[in-house]
């Protein structure tokens, strides 16, 4: 392994500083991008966009150079280990794909560009801080950092009522959740006297080994604290009773930001939950698995039923993400090496399939409400064969059909849960995924098998007029005309990256499984 400290001769710095270099790179670039605003010429061109991509690349490079090491920084507040490396890569990919998607999308609005990109970079940095934080203060700070960037990005479309309203709802409920988070921290602190996660972990292990019965007050405080903390995190993970912001925020936000929330925020929230759960919750304080069990079932059932009834594709994907959160939770409930690495695997798979689906949504989005209706997808299978084929794979992956990463992920977490004998939970999860297939297939039906009239309308535009669009035979007519997609290079790159990983993780997942396994091993390597 290359020793960074020797290459850069930074011996005089605390080694702990190394633990935040990946985040620091992103943050420094975020500031550079932000300062571009002052130079009119620079900010008008594509510079912010390219700078953001470069920063992600640099950060990725550093992570690969540092990977394998475990570094405690800032008196144990930040831990850089293989667990965070895995999630950094997921988060950086999420940010990278979001930036690619934004390029042409955000140009359609009269909004300042450098700030937009710098906010995305800040968001990426905050998520990275979140997954490597090891102290309740740090957890709180990075969650707030992440949420604030997300609030601003959600409401970024100035003068767009839907965007503002989404930001408003997201803000109120997000802050509400944060309040639960810190109030939970109070009780955890009161019970243990520590804020560092490892110290809390040792404290709990210690008293758990002596039998918690004799520690009356401590046990009650701990139970209250952990429940409140769970509520706060459940909001961020959009699990069922705490999901209500999800559809609105996803719907109103600019679509690249929706993608960012659906992928980045979700994996960061799940990662920190996984970390805290494995360190603190998983002892006989009370039966948290039963609580999670209920949350998982409610999330997937509610998400699937609501998705089935929605006709707006962004809302549909929002509800489906609630259901997916339920599936991911099954892995955490399953527990152990197997379940936790399955959770990580699923999270990474989820990033690619969701990002791919949102990229396709962006292609066909016309900035009016109607263009998000799934009716508008009629016949695009014939007009845009590659995009539609990719979308089919993303939807199949979300539905959990084989040769896609979604199947492997589901298989992984569900078998982990069966291993821990949560049979009923898995059975319900299986029934749910059969049920969920229905609404994913509904979109595929739209794309490839429109009604006869819709088909005729689509054929008029495509076959007889020729692919190039030089049609003299008339345009798509009626309410169900084919949407004209705006395909551009960036979106195609996103789609190809997502498709590549979705299929690779579905066909030969061994690489990623090894990676996830390694990461999990460092979770207990205290």
């Amino acid at each position: 392994m290359l020793d960074i400290s020797q290459v850069y001769n930074i011996n005089f710095l605390e080694e702990g500083m190394l633990s935040v270099i990946p985040e620091a790179i992103v943050i420094i670039f975020a500031f550079i991008v932000l300062f571009l605003t002052f130079f009119e010429k620079l900010s008008k061109s594509d510079n912010p966009y390219y700078l953001s991509l470069i920063s992600i690349g640099f950060s990725m490079l550093y992570i690969l150079m540092l990977s394998g090491r475990t570094i405690d920084g800032f008196y144990g507040s930040i831990v850089f280990n293989r667990f965070s490396v895995f999630l950094f890569i997921g988060i950086l990919f999420s940010g990278f794909l979001t930036i690619l998607m934004s390029k042409n999308y955000i140009d359609n609005f009269e909004v300042p560009l450098p700030e937009y990109y710098s906010l995305i970079l800040f968001g990426v940095a905050s998520m990275m801080l979140l997954v490597s934080s090891n102290n309740l203060i740090m957890v709180f700070l990075s969650i707030e950092f992440m949420s604030i960037t997300a609030y601003i990005l959600t409401g970024y479309l100035k003068g767009n009522l839907r965007s503002t309203e989404a930001a408003l709802k997201y803000f109120v409920l997000g802050t509400f959740a944060s309040a639960f988070l810190i109030f939970g921290s109070v009780f955890i602190y009161a019970a243990t006297g520590h804020l560092n996660l490892y110290n809390i972990h040792f404290f709990i292990v210690n008293i758990a080994s002596k039998g918690l019965v004799n520690f009356g007050d401590i046990k009650i405080y701990l139970a209250i604290g952990l429940i409140l903390f769970l509520v706060g995190l459940a909001f961020k993970m959009s699990l069922f009773p705490f999901h209500s912001w999800t559809p609105d925020a996803y719907d109103g936000a600019p679509t690249p930001v929706t993608n960012f929330m659906a992928t980045g925020v979700k994996i960061a929230a799940f990662a920190i939950f996984l970390r805290i759960f494995s360190l603190i919750y998983n002892f006989n304080i009370m039966d948290f698995n039963n609580i999670l069990w209920m949350l998982a079932i409610l999330s997937m059932s509610f998400g699937n039923i609501a998705a089935l009834m929605s006709s707006n594709i962004k809302r549909l994907l929002a509800y489906s993400s609630i259901a997916q959160a339920g599936y991911i939770l099954v892995g955490i409930i399953g527990g152990g090496y197997y379940g936790y690495s399955g959770t990580l695997f699923y999270l990474l798979a989820y990033v690619f399939m969701t990002a791919g689906a949102f990229a396709v949504v962006i292609i066909f989005e016309n900035f009016d409400l109607m263009s998000l209706d799934i009716k508008k997808y009629s016949g695009i299978g014939y007009k845009y064969p590659i995009v539609a084929a990719a979308m089919t794979f993303f939807l199949l992956s979300l539905a959990g059909i084989p040769v896609t990463s979604g199947f492997m992920g589901k298989f992984y977490v569900f078998s982990a849960a069966i291993k821990s004998r949560y049979n009923l939970l898995v059975l319900i999860a299986f029934i749910n995924s059969a049920f969920a297939a229905f609404y994913y297939i509904k979109i595929i039906v739209r794309m490839y098998m429109p009604d006869k009239e819709e088909l005729i309308a689509s054929l008029n535009g495509v076959q007889r007029g020729g692919m190039s669009g030089g049609s003299d035979q008339g345009k798509p007519s009626g309410d169900f005309g084919i949407v004209n997609g705006k395909i551009n290079e960036e979106l195609m790159i996103v789609i190809f990256i997502c498709l590549f990983f979705t299929l690779l993780m579905g066909i030969y997942p061994q690489l990623f499984i090894n990676f996830a396994h390694n990461s999990i091993s460092s979770l207990w390597n205290i």
Binding site: I401, P402, V403, F430, S433, A434, I441, K442, Y508
Partner: protein
Amino acid sequence: MDFFIKYLLSILIFFPLASVVLLLFINKKNEGLLRNLASILSLVEFIFSVYLFVYFKPDTYKFQFVEKLNWISTFGASYFLGIDGVSLFLILLTTLLTFVSLISSYRYIKDHIKEFVILMLTLETFMIGTFASLDVLLFYLFWEFMLIPMYFIIGMWGTGRRVYSAVKFVLYTLSGSLIMLFGLIYIFILHYDQTGNFTFNILRLYNTHIPINLQILLFIALFLGFAIKIPVFPFHTWLPDAHTEAPTAGSVILAGVLLKFGVYGFFRFAMPLLPAATLMLAPLVIIIGVIGVLYGALVSMVQKDLKRLVAFSSVSHMGFIMLGLFAMSAISVDGSILQLLNHGITTGALFLFVGMLYERAHTRQIADFGGIAKKAPILTTLFMISVLASIGLPGLNGFVGEFLILIGSFNHYMLLTIIATSGIIFAAVYLLWMFQRVMFQGITNPQIESFQDMDLREIITVLPLILLMFLIGFYPAPFLERIDPTVVHFLSMISRHGYVHNLIKLKMGLSNA
């Protein structure tokens, strides 16, 4: 050549996929080339698969053409292929029927040719993969993805309520498959608990000891998955819709190959993995099968739509096969497996003929036909042969299979076998009645006046199937001698647990019905 034989199964699986890649590069307007190339490639694939038959050693039950590569070592899943006497013929059937259905659709499929041939060849890859894999996870991967091309074939080129039928087909089979996957994963975990090793190798999973109560629950889970695919009586409702609305090629593949997967699943997975539950629940399954025989036959009698009639006759035939399989005597299981092939060949041919009638008259209503015999003697003759094969006339293939099933199961389940036999009589009634109304009588429909006989392409389409009907009918030995060792071994695997069977029968007072 050594290389070719050694990796023949992989070649068979991936050759169609490679063809798909080739076809992707051809302009979609070049329809003639697409059709011809796809047909030629599928013919090449069939010729490759004949090598399997040639190089197959008939006197052993052991898996042949075995290939094993690490795939997902964490789960102990491997790329593990191999065939025995049963999967050998099912693969041959698959390659033959894919070729047949590709050349049968020159007239039927008019638009989106490129998508069609690509989907057909993709489907072929996954069908062969399902039959060839000896690793449960690999099997499931092939098994479930297979739904997707089939779904597109029904939904994009079907008739009438095609979308409804396609979605119904996918959701039915998907729900069953997921419950089945639950069962399979459970067995996988049980194996881990007992040995400390993760493995999906089916040969090792056979050795898992599962308590009888659990076996019954798991058997139900697997039963749901496989029974929906077959489909066994109460789960059959997707079948008539899917068969009726699918294009001819889709119906041929659906009836010819996809329905076989359910039985194959029982044969390869459910029964050997859960022998005690199999022995215990066999009478119930047979009762369900016999109900299916009668139900399918009775419902066929009242059908007005040709394709629906053939579809329901499948329900009846598959009930028969279930009877033979679960009677679990060597002869009856031999018969069942042979009947699987027969059903694929015969029903495939019947669907081809129905397709030809539909292409000419643009209707499938039996009442709209009549008097075709005068206009199209060749079609009438060949159709007659297929109908007689389906009825089970001696000298044709259907007779051999049904006869073996009946003798094999008569000793064990006398009453049920007698009831099932009435299914054959019903089959004769509805098929001959249908044939008489379609082919003879006076011409009532003006469309029939200009009815053309089969052209060369169509004769080539059905000829291999007709020849096989005679071959199996007169000389089934080459088939049976390859199937038999596998079946004997299969029964020995189950009867290791035979003592449990007797014990349970004593307890429950179940007599051989």
